[in-house]
Symmetry: D2
Subunit: 372 residues, 4 copies
Amino acid sequence: MSHNSFGHLFRVTTWGESHGPALGCVVDGCPPGIPLTAADIQAFLDRRKPGQSRFVTQRREPDEVEILSGVFEDDRTGGPVTTGTPISLMIRNVDQRSKDYGDIRDTYRPGHADLGYDLKYSVRDYRGGGRSSARETAARVAAGAIARKILPGVTIRGALVQVGRERIDRAAWDWDEVDRNPFFCPDAGAARRFEAHLDAIRKAGSSVGAVIEVVAEGVPAGWGAPIYGKLDQDIASAFMSINAVKAVEIGAGMAAAELTGEENADEMRMGNDGTILFGSNNAGGILGGISSGQPVVARFAVKPTSSILTDRRSVSSAGADVDVRTKGRHDPCVGIRAVPVGEAMMAIVLADHLLRHRAQTGRDGPVAFPLR
Amino acid sequence: MSHNSFGHLFRVTTWGESHGPALGCVVDGCPPGIPLTAADIQAFLDRRKPGQSRFVTQRREPDEVEILSGVFEDDRTGGPVTTGTPISLMIRNVDQRSKDYGDIRDTYRPGHADLGYDLKYSVRDYRGGGRSSARETAARVAAGAIARKILPGVTIRGALVQVGRERIDRAAWDWDEVDRNPFFCPDAGAARRFEAHLDAIRKAGSSVGAVIEVVAEGVPAGWGAPIYGKLDQDIASAFMSINAVKAVEIGAGMAAAELTGEENADEMRMGNDGTILFGSNNAGGILGGISSGQPVVARFAVKPTSSILTDRRSVSSAGADVDVRTKGRHDPCVGIRAVPVGEAMMAIVLADHLLRHRAQTGRDGPVAFPLR
Amino acid sequence: MSHNSFGHLFRVTTWGESHGPALGCVVDGCPPGIPLTAADIQAFLDRRKPGQSRFVTQRREPDEVEILSGVFEDDRTGGPVTTGTPISLMIRNVDQRSKDYGDIRDTYRPGHADLGYDLKYSVRDYRGGGRSSARETAARVAAGAIARKILPGVTIRGALVQVGRERIDRAAWDWDEVDRNPFFCPDAGAARRFEAHLDAIRKAGSSVGAVIEVVAEGVPAGWGAPIYGKLDQDIASAFMSINAVKAVEIGAGMAAAELTGEENADEMRMGNDGTILFGSNNAGGILGGISSGQPVVARFAVKPTSSILTDRRSVSSAGADVDVRTKGRHDPCVGIRAVPVGEAMMAIVLADHLLRHRAQTGRDGPVAFPLR
Amino acid sequence: MSHNSFGHLFRVTTWGESHGPALGCVVDGCPPGIPLTAADIQAFLDRRKPGQSRFVTQRREPDEVEILSGVFEDDRTGGPVTTGTPISLMIRNVDQRSKDYGDIRDTYRPGHADLGYDLKYSVRDYRGGGRSSARETAARVAAGAIARKILPGVTIRGALVQVGRERIDRAAWDWDEVDRNPFFCPDAGAARRFEAHLDAIRKAGSSVGAVIEVVAEGVPAGWGAPIYGKLDQDIASAFMSINAVKAVEIGAGMAAAELTGEENADEMRMGNDGTILFGSNNAGGILGGISSGQPVVARFAVKPTSSILTDRRSVSSAGADVDVRTKGRHDPCVGIRAVPVGEAMMAIVLADHLLRHRAQTGRDGPVAFPLR
């Protein structure tokens, strides 16, 4: 058991606080022989990096990753490959303005983890949220970059599909659009609405929630396991472990409650090449905890950050009533930078399930038709 | 790692198929000295038992539990108590009509786990869904009954709050009402609407989804852990592991995406007795993965069962197109019997976190104010 | 974490007390499609069964195993095969003479687990040792029989190589001899010496220790992992978990301390067929935690049972000095029946490592020469 | 599951190679509020540090530890304390002479892990043994220093009790002597014999095995658990995970095989203060997997390092016969520096079991007499 590890066979252990000297993770169980350089990881860290637009925190962190173990030159290619031993990654914290946080040492921001930490542990690194800061997600993104490497043929992409009450038009979904706006929004029209809405929020010193959707295409049928090794169960666990997440949906999600059996079940026909053609994807690519071969589709809702410029009623460590206003540099919509984090967690879950599937069946994918 | 275990320190391993000789579970890590009889467990199994109304499956299973290990007479009371060793529980399957299922041996019901199992394992017990049957949840309810025993002061109750598009009126919520209708519905008016709706669904040979809410009152502040040992993460994992669940919400859930920071954060004031009074509970009692002392509130959405009396397009194990209609005895709304299952999973998660909290802090609850 | 599970990917959870209604185990993670009947398991249980000679306990237990889940008829063969779901095994206890044990309810037999259980849990099932009884090892042997099934090409055999100060002559080792005497002794001459020694011990109401050696031939190179996933580490853990074991050796074992580097390192030459020929096997087939392709050789020492007919000084639950003499039916040399238990634990460890190796490398064995 | 973690509730994950940029570990689950500085850890690292006498490797590594996370200033004392979050420790590698190792890139030193790594992973960092180097044990010693901090009242000490065929005189045991000679030898006379023997070994370019004994005094009765959570099982696992270890003994160890029941069982009498007085300690302080209150006594045998200056017959990665002689700087007796490593592993096991005991019983120690 570990409070700071995720995954079983592809196992990630993260460490570090927002204003400590560094943060990082250890990735254990990665297969050997996978080409891996710091640049491979950096590309994904750069997508999550703070300070890239006016809609995210202005903290300036280069988030440069250092690989401390687990890779070595390959005899055949000369390039670095994984060796099957633990991969240790470290990212130094650079732009800490810890003095911003003296105020919250003894007053608890409503909606934040501060109070719970103090009630549990009686001591906490309060600077920038300490261990509860979303800076920890940099380690997830780094580990996710490695996870992607062992998932050839699987494409994992995330998108921001809702900000406050503004939703995308699903008919306008264009994956190429995601990289053209600062919101990872797949709908150009919605991106403009997001921008207007977030400018207003930002100027008001307020914040707002969001919904992120992550889609994994190319996942073969058969990954996952019944009962307590369900693929969707691990996705739910992975997404709910991300800071500020309050809900997780697979496929039709909450809306499944409104469907009838006729509407819900995704009908099937055989394709020409032995694959199955589905008429819909309410299941989100997972049935009975096992992938069906359809795209895996999952969403999570992120609450608005509780770091806002308005006074809120709260209590102090002394047990007195106080009013709290949060200074510091924060994201008006933490959901934006949660997009690459959601992708990373999906990659970690899938990498873990690939190895688990391989262990029990000796295969990477499903058996072929005829099945008997 | 286990595909069939849940929990870390309070650990439940379940086994059994729908039409095998029996099903059961092993509960490991239960503290010693807890009074426990089969009757204690039976009371909860009876709430989940099939055949109790026309709205659930007509399979007749007494679901009588046998305790095979882990309890012994207490010297002080003479009554049976847990000994700290594994508690093995068994429930014999009685009313199996396996012949109902010959048809689905080689044809896959859309929306069911059948196909995934065959693609993964190449063999499956198809009778009644085999391992993927919701009969497995009887073992969860039995384990949950034990979990409740080590949670003195915690009250865990579930309710059906939505069936199809019919929702309860939250202003009419009355916990006493839950046991007065066959739906575990806390709103008498909604129960009548559920009844009318489900009668129509049942007669049409159809099915419909639902939403279950589980509330745990009396959970002390401080349970849970940061990052990957989050209390809400484990609730999400627990609920998503239940058959047919497609979404999990904590507190405000998906609606948190629509809130602003001002609306979302639950304000606090000190109460007279050193406890904290909260102005709202959007957090669902959990902040940063740790309980706040407020009621823990979580929901999950259950899809409609895919066992319906209408032909659906599907494929066979031979790789041919077929049309499938599901015979057998099924629940028109599997969400009803999911209520005691949701309660059980909440109890198991909380019992596990009580032991984890105790291990790391040496306490069962939070430190007292002043915190420093 | 579990106090009652062993293994990671091939995971065995046992339950049951010596004088409870039954004992058993759940085997999780077994690959699907493995032919398995109760008779396959029974063959191994019969080797461990009590009452087979005058040198073991006279308790009469048929130890008949019932498979409760996890197997189903295979379409191709019609015979039962594993389905990839948890295999639940149960053995009813039949010949309980619990009244023999009233005396030890409140007095602690020196050298037994009784006192520790009471100091820890404050309650225990004292009948026949309860959970600490070696009857639990029946579940291990049953699980081991399944583990052997997924290890084609691997031969696991155990032998009793020492009883008290009587040792076998290694030059006389004959595996066929093991089944010809009641001691699993591979040396016919030593078997006669064991018999004379044990008859004397038995008549004196005494007991004596023993050493068991387990050899696994056919283990491919490459199983195991560096650091904390070492194959020898897991064998040490497995053997030390067996009742009454006080020491574990791999290869040269304790004697390795006396060797020089020249004597110890097993020299290698290439064989004709791409395999490696070793000049010796001080390593016991494991180097750096990974199998070398040589036979895996391990031993464990079992202490004499503390159930003897001589008064021993002890204490009572009341905290008073008492003298204790153990009635009941016991093994004068528990090491004899530990032979099939040791084999079973070796099989479970190897099955687990096969699956772990497969997960990380996608292979069941080593890469072939040339290695680069 | 992890290949590179040890412990459950006090969980250590190590990473790093001998000639990589650094090595380190993450300690997860440490209780909050424990005073901890780098100096606390450094004191133990300095005992294990290479280059301290002519009897160990001449590699010059300062082994300076850096604490990267998990501690913060305490409000009450101002000094750094643990916060309950993961503690990340890093030690930079400084004195790497990687060119010494070019020869072993493609030839396998008999008795070393090289070949197994290549057969399993097909790639390895061969420099100085890479991940299989005993440099990894620096991370263990660092983690062990933290483990000691949560074990107040427990004294853990190790000693070298045998080098080759030279054994200490147990009657001459003096713990103070351990720090007065370069061998951690508790017997001044034996230390002189060790010195003479090792000088001869060193000059011959040879190496020799050793036996280390670790004693933990002050362990309360009740730690450990039956069956697969046994305290001695975890000690066996911990010790066997150390490089070059081939055997583990608890209490009487292998010699228990020679004892009769009368000789073996440690008799008990009540002491004046409610504690138990034992007449002997063949059990090594552990009965039925649970501590008895006596000192926990365990030993392990270390084989001679296979890095010797004599040609040995071996094979190459090309599959050809070669002769190998190992250059580089090595320990003539790796058992010497294994003493602090053994202590550290004992501390980690005990810390883990303290937390496990606390979780299940809510206490740190046993119940008091009268037990019922």
